[in-house]
């Protein structure tokens, strides 16, 4: 795969994440009952950074959790090899809380569908919001994001690659061509 374009560098990614944090607090008029939940894998560092930005802004921490959606995927029996299953870690019961799901790229919407199913097995949140770093279009399900870092029109044969310092050594978002 060739790199077609560098969409975001580290500095621009940080600004996007800071704005996502501000929008998340604004939309909820504060941080009451808020839980930030990152979807494995790239949603985890993005969610952690959003939680950290909110803490710096508001002066108190917001609970942060990790959701593994592997077992809820709709293509589980058709993909090989099997994706590696990791634990889900939620900091507290999600009943009557406002859960902000965080992922790197919103594309078909199938990951978010799986995440909603997974989340509901843990309780009944008052509301669930979706925050994504990149919205690239091409939805296959009726799902939308509430907080978006950057909207990017893409072709179906392009691949968006989000790289995070915590997992990949560097912060950047690339458009790749198959």
């Amino acid at each position: 795969m060739n790199v077609k374009k560098r969409l975001l560098d580290g500095a621009r990614m940080n600004r996007a994440i800071r704005r996502m944090a501000i929008e998340t607090v604004e939309k909820n008029r504060g941080t009451k009952d808020l839980i930030i939940v990152g979807i494995r894998s790239r949603g985890v560092p993005i969610g952690e950074r959003i939680a950290k930005e909110i803490e710096e802004m508001e002066g108190h921490p917001v609970p942060f959790g990790i959701l593994d959606i592997t077992l809820y995927r709709d293509d589980l029996t058709t993909i090989a090899p099997q994706p590696v299953v990791k634990p889900t870690k939620l900091p507290e019961p999600i009943d009557d809380k406002i859960v902000v799901l965080v992922d790197d790229v919103l594309y078909t919407g199938r990951t978010v569908r799986a995440a909603l199913d997974a989340l509901i097995d843990f309780g009944r949140p008052r509301a669930v919001m979706l925050a994504v770093l990149i919205d690239r279009g091409h939805r296959e399900l009726p799902i939308h994001a509430d907080v978006i870092g950057k909207t990017v029109p893409t072709d179906a044969d392009e691949v968006i690659k989000v790289r995070m310092a915590e997992l990949d050594g560097e912060d950047e978002v690339l458009i790749m061509e198959k």
């Binding site: 593994d68 077992l71 029996t77 090989a80 590696v84 097995d121």
Partner: protein
């Protein structure tokens, strides 16, 4: 990330012997994810929805069968239990015919327990379904060894270099065989101990140390695995009496003092209190026997998940 590979080579789990250390690590790492599922308010995930698992138990089993059944249900598989008693097997049907008839109902996986070593292999060679060995004679009991390893790793943080002593009826135990294969592959040091009549000749060739005095086996051990004395074999006991066995090989709190302070005591169950293990030990702070049972469900979920999905070779 510890896992280097993400799938198992074979469609079946027939024993520990054919597995690589990477595959064992993959199963144990995957089981960590599944242990969390059992702690949720809704203890069920849709991973194996629509898949049919047949539990074919040709030999009595409570713990293993129940554990597999819970694992299957927590993965949303459909399950069907087939026991030898009261079935066509009692009317003279062969295992192959029984299995082929069950296969005509298109199960995705068959979990089999049979008193004949090699029965799971025979099915695996003939049937397209994934076969999981839940114990075949004195051959192997792979999921028991995996749950033992999971428990040791969870408690001690590693398998490499851990001193494990296995004490009791080494000769008739499939649990021992699977555990020796697993622990030596993962570079643990294994010592076996028991009456000479219950230790098979040349077992050293599997890479274990053999001692005949229990105190020697306990000395410096990180893990002590007690094996069940098979009381159903009373008629042909390999030692004079159960009381003598307890006096010579029973694990008591006094004897346990020779082990490391952090020692853990395991038992695959069912226990004979006052024969191979004193109640004070079985219920004492060293015991992880009930943790083994809890972990069994997570490990079996991991095995079912790893075998139940699409296979790279297909």
């Amino acid at each position: 990330m510890r896992t280097q590979i993400s799938s198992l080579k074979s469609k079946d789990l027939l024993g520990i012997e054919p597995l690589t250390s990477e595959e064992i690590t993959l199963i144990l790492d995957t089981a960590e994810g599944f242990k969390e599922v059992s702690e949720r308010p809704v203890k069920k995930v849709p991973a194996l929805r629509g898949q049919l698992v047949i539990n074919l138990f040709m030999e009595a089993s409570t713990r293993t069968r129940v554990s597999f059944e819970i694992a299957e249900k927590r993965l949303s598989a459909d399950t069907l239990n087939f026991a030898a008693s009261g079935s066509s097997v009692e009317k003279g049907e062969t295992l192959i015919d029984t299995a082929e008839n069950l296969m005509a109902m298109a199960p995705d996986m068959i979990v089999i327990r049979d008193k004949h070593p090699g029965a799971p292999k025979m099915l695996a060679d003939r049937l397209p379904a994934s076969i999981i060995n839940a114990g075949d004679g004195a051959h192997e009991h792979p999921t028991q060894a995996l749950l033992d390893a999971f428990t040791i790793r969870e408690r001690l943080g590693r398998l490499h270099g851990v001193n494990v002593s296995i004490i009791g009826d080494i000769a008739h135990s499939r649990v021992v065989r699977s555990n020796i294969h697993l622990l030596t592959k993962m570079k643990a040091s294994v010592t076996v101990a028991g009456p000479p009549t219950l230790i098979p000749a040349e077992i050293e060739r599997l890479g274990v140390r053999v001692v005949h005095a229990i105190d020697e086996a306990i000395e410096g051990a990180d893990v002590i695995m007690m094996l069940r004395i098979q009381l159903e074999r009373q008629g042909k006991l390999s030692f004079p009496s159960l009381r003598e066995y307890y006096n010579t090989f029973g694990l008591t709190p006094q004897r346990l003092r020779r082990a490391k302070e952090s020692v853990i005591v395991m038992h695959p169950g069912p226990m004979n209190r006052g024969v191979e293990i004193a109640s004070d030990v079985a219920d004492g702070p060293w015991s992880v026997i009930l943790e083994q049972v809890t972990n069994g469900v997570a490990v079996r979920m991991a095995v079912l998940y790893l075998l139940g999905g699409a296979h790279a070779a297909e």
